[in-house]
């Protein structure tokens, strides 16, 4: 549901782009939505087709830096750059993006690390120690001390098992009948 939030706006803007010349603001919005929806290839192409004279727009430049950071999976850079005084038209998208990326990063860390130094994680996520502590305890991670360094032992998120439903059973029955005939 969440990622559909901007779809209507996106459709409208994409349509607009095919018919008239756009100003910097529309490009900002488009770029921000692409970033939020994680359509990095689209964002890259959009940047490539933005007319040169608009590329000097500060906010567009900044958005593109975010895109480059995301493409390279450079988390530290991304979280640094997203701290910016965004204008009204992209602000909501940027706030959502920040929340989403934080969440994704922590899920990723949960999946990819058995143990990770707090320093590294702080650097990646650009969070303060307290923020991290709260987020980590919400995820049920454990803390360990190794000399002076703090090490986090993340826990992989378990996806809740969802049982089959009638609809699926129906489909299965259909296949079986198909195979039998």
């Amino acid at each position: 549901m969440q990622s559909n939030k901007y779809n209507d706006l996106l459709d409208r803007l994409e349509n607009e782009e095919l018919e008239v010349e756009l100003g910097a603001e529309v490009y900002q919005q488009l770029l921000a939505i692409y970033l939020y929806q994680n359509k990095l290839a689209n964002a890259k192409l959009l940047w490539m087709r933005i007319p040169d004279k608009l590329k000097e727009d500060k906010e567009l430049l900044h958005l593109n830096q975010l895109n480059v950071a995301l493409q390279n999976n450079n988390f530290a850079e991304f979280f640094q750059k997203i701290r910016y005084d965004w204008s009204e038209c992209v602000k909501p998208a940027m706030e959502d993006l920040l929340v989403k990326q934080r969440e994704d990063l922590l899920t990723l860390a949960g999946n990819a690390y058995v143990s990770i130094y707090q320093n590294n994680l702080l650097k990646m996520a650009q969070m303060t120690e307290d923020e991290l502590k709260n987020a980590a305890s919400a995820l049920d991670w454990t803390r360990e001390l190794n000399g002076d360094d703090v090490i986090w032992l993340p826990k992989a998120k378990e996806t809740p098992p969802t049982g089959g439903n009638d609809d699926q059973l129906l489909k299965l029955t259909e296949f079986v009948t198909f195979l039998e005939n």
Binding site: E17, E19, N42, L45, N111, A112, I116, K171
Partner: protein, 467 residues
């Protein structure tokens, strides 16, 4: 001068009114040169015609306008507006009588926009044109290629992807259309252009998919392009072949890029053998004889890739960078290099359960543990490998794919795949039926049988009743 144009207008009006569109379509090609000569007053002509009622007349005026664009130098905005108006309001039934002219108009319009650097404004118009003229959603028309070209030039693929995602089951060619319309095609279209637009569609399509990083589909498009039966090599095929080699390394890098390539080549040889038996032009020799020598850099790349040495690959790419840049394939070459690192890491997962990060780095020739960690993290993120990193000991643990094939998501996945396959079976059955019922095919199939039989029993079938 004026009276000739008046005649033209009168002809269009009376014949359109009486509904004799076929005759009108047959006559109109002769007036193109007349119209083009009078480019300066074509706007007046347009005013006397109505797009809806006199679609054919307007079409030819547009054609003439585009033909004379070089000399007349009209306002781009005006041309675009005219085309937009035309595709929105024309009468498709009338248009069908002059499909060739319509295709030509679209091609010229596309060229014009590309020249004026206004491609983005034409995407919608061409998409609308495709919608109008194709008889079903899965039909390929020559103007598909124009749509792709405009999208590529404008770097805007939102609209075109829907057209590329539909699998093609039928092809509308200018040659076939002209034949049914019994037009004099010599002055209009060259039959060779059909092949050109077919190849271009798949070449551009492949490029578009590469740009949006849908490499599987891109590979498929390039494959169609290079496996098209042909007597001679087209440069479109050559370029597609180069890109095909690179994309196949990126896609199949994790399995075995070079295997895939040689697999396709053997496949080609086999299909050629088969095709020769079926009396269809010899094809793959084209690849072996013409394309391979002309794409030697790319073949070197494939063979070095197979050695799994990132260092060697890097040196080779550097060595050939000029050639790759000339072909605009440098970006792909860099991605090939990255894919080799990934492939090598992936191979480690098959041998080791745990490995220190610095070991990973030295085995895949990365600069250090930190870089290795970065690669592994990215690969975990994109789901290419399953592993967990232990920063405390500097080790990485490789795991098996946790998919147990018992989740609803997987079920949905399987389900969509089954539906696709079932649809495909239906489609193949339908097409086979069409071929079996095709009189030409029946005649030929029976004919060859006749030959066999006549040689054995000369008098059994003395005459074919259909002859």
């Amino acid at each position: 001068m004026g009276s000739a144009l008046e005649n033209f207008v009168n002809q269009v009006r009376t014949m359109s009114a009486s509904g004799s569109f076929r005759e009108l379509a047959d006559d109109l090609p002769e007036s193109v040169s007349l119209l083009a000569r009078n480019w300066s007053i074509l706007d007046n002509v347009l005013e006397t015609l109505d797009v809806q009622q006199h679609t054919l007349g307007v079409l030819y005026v547009l054609l003439a306008k585009l033909h004379s664009a070089a000399t007349a130098n009209p306002e781009p905005v005006q041309i675009i507006q005219l085309m937009r108006d035309f595709v929105q309001r024309n009468n498709v039934e009338q248009l069908r009588f002059a499909i060739c002219a319509f295709y030509e108009t679209c091609h010229l319009f596309t060229d014009y926009l590309v020249q004026k650097n206004l491609s983005i404004l034409g995407i919608k118009i061409m998409a609308r044109a495709v919608d109008q003229i194709r008889q079903m959603d899965t039909q390929l028309t020559p103007i598909h290629a124009d749509l792709c070209l405009l999208s590529l030039k404008a770097k805007n693929f939102n609209l075109v992807l829907a057209y590329l995602d539909t699998d093609i089951t039928d092809i509308s060619t200018a040659a076939a259309e002209c034949k049914t319309q019994q037009q004099q095609q010599s002055q209009h279209t060259d039959a060779n252009n059909d092949a050109k637009y077919f190849l271009l569609f798949y070449y551009y399509g492949g490029m578009i998919y590469t740009a949006v990083k849908n490499y599987d589909r891109a590979l498929y498009f390039f494959e169609v392009c290079i496996t098209t039966p042909a007597m001679a090599m087209s440069h479109i095929m050559l370029e597609a072949y180069k890109k095909f080699l690179m994309v196949s390394l990126i896609v199949e890098g994790n399995v075995s890029g070079s295997e895939r390539v040689s697999f396709v080549q053997t496949n080609l040889y086999l299909s050629c053998l088969y095709l020769q038996i079926a009396f269809i032009p010899k094809n793959t020799q084209v690849i072996g004889r013409f394309m391979k020598p002309m794409a030697s850099h790319y073949h070197d790349l494939v063979s070095v890739y197979a050695n799994s040495s990132s260092e060697e690959l890097r040196i080779l790419i550097l060595k050939y960078s000029e050639a790759f840049t000339r072909d605009s394939n440098m970006g792909l070459a860099k991605q090939v290099a990255t894919s080799l690192y990934k492939r090598n890491i992936k191979r480690l997962t098959k041998t080791f359960l745990t490995l220190s990060l610095s070991d990973v780095a030295s085995r895949v020739q990365l600069s250090g543990a930190a870089e290795a960690e970065r690669y592994i993290l990215n690969m975990i993120k994109s789901g290419e490998i399953y592993a967990s990193i232990n920063q405390k000991d500097g080790m990485v643990l490789f795991k098996d794919d946790p998919e147990k094939y018992n989740s609803p998501d997987m079920f949905l996945n399987v389900q969509t795949n089954i539906t696709q396959v079932l649809d495909l079976v239906k489609q193949i059955n339908k097409m086979e039926e069409e071929i079996i019922l095709n009189p030409m095919y029946v005649k030929k199939a029976l004919g060859s049988q006749d030959d066999d039989l006549t040689s054995q029993h000369p008098k059994t079938y003395s005459g074919d009743p259909t002859d």
